[in-house]
Amino acid sequence: MPADATFGSLSNHLLVASMVAYSLAMLGFAAEFSFGRRSALTRVLDRGDSVPVRVAGPAPARVLVGSAGSESRSGSGFEVPAGSSGATSTLPAGPLPGRGAGRPGSEDAAGPPGRLGQAALALTVVGWAVHVGSVVARGFAAHRVPWGNMYEFSSMVALVAVTAFLVLAVRERVRYLGAFVLLPVVLYLGLAGTVLYVPAAPLVPALNSYWIKIHVVAAITATGTFMVSGVVIMLFLLRARYEDRVAAGRPAGVAALAHRLPSAAALDRTSYRVTAFAFPVWTFAVIAGAIWAEAAWGRYWGWDPKETWSFITWVVYAGYLHARTTAGWKGRRAAYLGLLGFAALMVDYYWINIGVSGLHSYSGV
């Protein structure tokens, strides 16, 4: 079937092209991260201190508006941060801030983003579009949804991770994440294209169900997003260590890398948000998997190794979310749970599919 082969090789070439774009973008982000102005990188999320805000009030009158830092989240719920009373200031009525653009609390909402960073972002978008093309071509080559074996899963997971980064970058301006997300993405795609690669082929009957569209897409979406959350959690740990060392007046060591990152509290918030998005998606993936298992194998849950690890992953992430609401477990301990969850997810994806024989061993490797 020459047409299929054409699409197949087109898909492969596009994947390589997208990897090149991602790699260049990664270098751009890394350069901006190292040499660019800090405020351009982390416009909104970096908010450790109380900062006055511009908020529109009724036109005719003087308006008093204030906003304090948002470090108040803790187990006891509504809490007022101590010493925030001085944050109110008098401001003239101004334009209403839109989402993402100069949101309250920006350290430097007016500063232009760095050129380098803009270029890197543009390259990432190009790489992303080419990556989408690669996935679509693969679907044409195989005459089915392009997520039927591990090579294809991996490509899709990387695509979701890049998508998640782009969404975050647009909504919250987190370009500082660029290099740190693209590095694992490129490595991941490299691994997928070499070790896991298999030519396009139809699905085995066990996978041939519309549930594959639902369950697998959910699992891939959750995994790609968890990947970003894992990256942010690691950055948080690095930054927390840096802050501790600086506070203690000790040399920062390796943690000095974190000096250009947003505050640990801001990173912590971002990681929570990303994880809190991924977790329900993962929950849905597990439930959809159970429904599919019921249709395919006559039982919705059988403690197959894949199911068991999905469960472990789910429980660990549930632990992470719980830890965030339990005072004694916040911060670093919660972060370690988040990383553990990601480790469990990777075991689920790779070790189980390749190393363990079970109903889910369809890697094709």
Binding site: V55, A56, G57, P58, A59, A61, R62, V63, L64, V65, G66, S67, A68, S70, R73, G75, S76, G77, F78, V80, S84, S85, A87, T88, L96, P97, R99, P104, G105, A201, P202, P205, S209, R269, R273, A276, F279, P280, I287, A290, W292, E294, A295, A296, W297, G298, R299, Y300, W303, T308, F311, I312, V315, G319, H322, T325, T326, A327, G328, I352
Partner: protein, 545 residues
């Protein structure tokens, strides 16, 4: 925050749910717990168990407990692998086995962890539901003394009277589905407390309750369900039909409280099975064409056709029928030395590899004067290799049946159980071996013959009913809904205070101050707050719009 005692955890929890706020004087600490010792100890243990931290530890323990279940082979899933493990690690395996590590999910310690977790869950849900129910009926909290200490604040002056300004704010907030409460204040002022996002806690409670529901659904399946398998040969009247009664199963697993009356006696027949493969030999499609008769129809009822496929089970009378395996059966006609037909039927062979090299045994107890037995293998696409015949493809391209014939006593009357796929050769004498193509007849030395008439297909079906399915599915839906609500909805509070301006210069004017507080995701609330303040300002100036 420093170390929390469970007592304080509970108090803060109560505060949170009941609408307490740290800007208000906190409720008096509970009376010191100096009751009689054992009771106090029990209460304390219960508090410990139902605390969030214990829940967290148990959750973690549950994940840890599941790890050996994925890392080691499990009896319930793969008894053969467990046996292999025993053979490979003769010293270690019995030790592991003593700790139920090959039956993790049925192990007492695994049950202990999840039961403790669920006791903890139920224990902490009771008070939380009570408190939340109270919070739903409670008035939103009064405005704190110092609105300006809240994380989000705004203020302005207006010409409207304090009561009118507050009323306008109330109307606006109610339109936006905030819960509001107006209070008069000393000195002619008024204040408004408003709260929104109760759905967060509702969702969270729904999620936790649904977890318990899921466990109940799983337990129901384990107690009242059943599951069994049966092999059916396509197109064969005798071995291709099935009626749902216990004796018709090859293998039957009832739940602990299962009663036979739950089996609806529906029937079905396998007419044809088609398997297709990719050129590489990978499976492409399996289709089993069956006819079935629901039990309500009675014997004279109308048979309905169904295409049974992987991922497309047949549901009939509350039971589900799944296609779970397939293979080849060799149809043979065997005559004894006396010339009479002693066997004429398909004999299922078991597939042994990807290309469906299938092994089996043909037992002919009715052959006279002596019983006959054959053991051997079928190669669907036969190729010669240095080590003998093998199959190169799972489809029937060049099928050959290679058999070794025996004569003597099959040992079927000895009472010892035998596998249908193996001969027990103790009482048998080998005669000859031969490879046959379909249609060929093999005359045995010493009389008798075997005709390889053709090849049939067989499937194995799993029939089962799990009354926990629907509850478990409903609980899963509730889990998801509750989760989304509890992670997405923000609980937030807003206060508006309007007091007559005190300084002489602006007499007749009213000073309005607004304060806001969000429990989570304060970034997003900052936007909402700004937008609300703008709207409140407009409505205060034109209260009629």
């Amino acid at each position: 925050m420093t170390e929390l005692t469970t007592e304080r955890e509970l108090t803060t929890e109560r505060e949170r749910v009941a609408g307490g706020l740290s800007t208000q004087p906190s409720p008096p600490p509970p009376a010191p717990r100096r009751r009689r010792q054992p009771l106090a100890a029990a209460r304390n243990a219960w508090r410990q168990l139902t605390s969030m931290r214990t829940a967290l530890l148990l959750l973690f323990l549950l994940a840890l407990a599941a790890v050996p279940g994925a890392a080691l082979p499990q009896r319930g899933l793969n008894p053969v692998q467990v046996a292999d493990y025993f053979a490979a690690h003769p010293r270690l395996a019995p030790v592991l086995d003593r700790f139920s590590l090959f039956d993790v999910f049925a192990a007492p310690w695994f049950a202990a962890v999840y039961l403790l977790l669920f006791v903890s869950l139920v224990g902490c849900l009771g008070p939380r539901i009570r408190l939340h129910a109270r919070a739903l009926r409670a008035r939103p909290p009064a405005a704190p003394q110092h609105l300006e200490r809240l994380p989000h604040t705004a203020g302005w002056e207006t010409e409207a009277a304090p009561q009118a300004a507050v009323a306008a704010a109330r109307a606006l907030l109610r339109r936006r589905r905030w819960r509001t409460d107006v209070r008069a204040e000393a000195g002619g002022g008024a204040s408004l407390g408003a709260e929104k996002g109760y759905l967060r806690e509702t969702g969270n409670l729904l999620f936790h309750v649904a977890l318990v529901g899921l466990l109940v659904g799983v337990a129901m399946g384990g107690l009242f369900g059943y599951k069994g398998t049966r092999l059916l040969v396509a197109g064969d009247e005798a071995s291709g039909s099935f009626t749902n009664t216990v004796t018709q199963y090859d293998d039957f697993h009832p739940g602990r409280l299962f009663s036979g009356s739950r089996l609806a006696p529906f029937a079905f027949v396998l007419d044809r099975f088609t398997a297709s493969y990719q050129p590489s030999g990978e499976a492409r499609q399996f289709i089993a064409d069956v006819r079935y008769l629901p039990s309500a129809q009675g014997a004279g009822g109308r048979w309905r056709p169904y295409r049974l496929q992987v991922n497309h089970p047949l549901t009939v009378d509350g039971a589900s029928v799944y296609l779970i395996g397939h293979g080849y059966a060799v149809h043979v006609t065997v005559r004894g030395a006396d010339g009479r037909v002693a066997l004429d039927q398909p004999v299922p062979f078991l597939p042994k590899d990807q290309n469906f090299t299938s092994v089996g045994a043909i037992k002919v107890p009715d052959a006279r004067p002596a019983q006959l037995g054959f053991s051997g293998f079928l190669t669907p696409t036969t190729v010669a290799t240095p080590s003998g015949l093998a199959s190169a493809y799972p489809g029937l391209r060049v099928p050959r049946l290679t058999l070794l014939a025996y004569r003597g006593d099959l040992g079927l009357d000895s009472g010892r159980p035998q596998s249908v796929y193996q001969l027990s050769t103790g009482g048998l004498r080998r005669i000859q071996s031969k490879t046959l193509a379909p249609g060929q007849t093999w005359r045995l030395p010493g009389g008798g013959s075997l005709t390889f008439a053709g090849i049939d297909q067989w499937i194995t079906v799993q029939v089962g009913s799990d009354p926990g399915n629907t509850p478990a599915l409903a609980a899963s839906g509730a889990i998801l809904l509750g989760l989304v609500l509890s992670l997405r909805v923000r609980r937030r509070r807003l206060w508006v205070r309007a007091v007559p301006a005190s300084d002489g210069g602006t007499a007749g004017r009213t000073v309005v101050s607004v304060g806001g507080l969000a429990r989570t995701d304060t970034d997003a609330f900052a936007e909402e707050f700004a937008e609300l303040v703008a709207a409140l300002g407009r409505s205060a100036d034109n209260p009629h719009h």
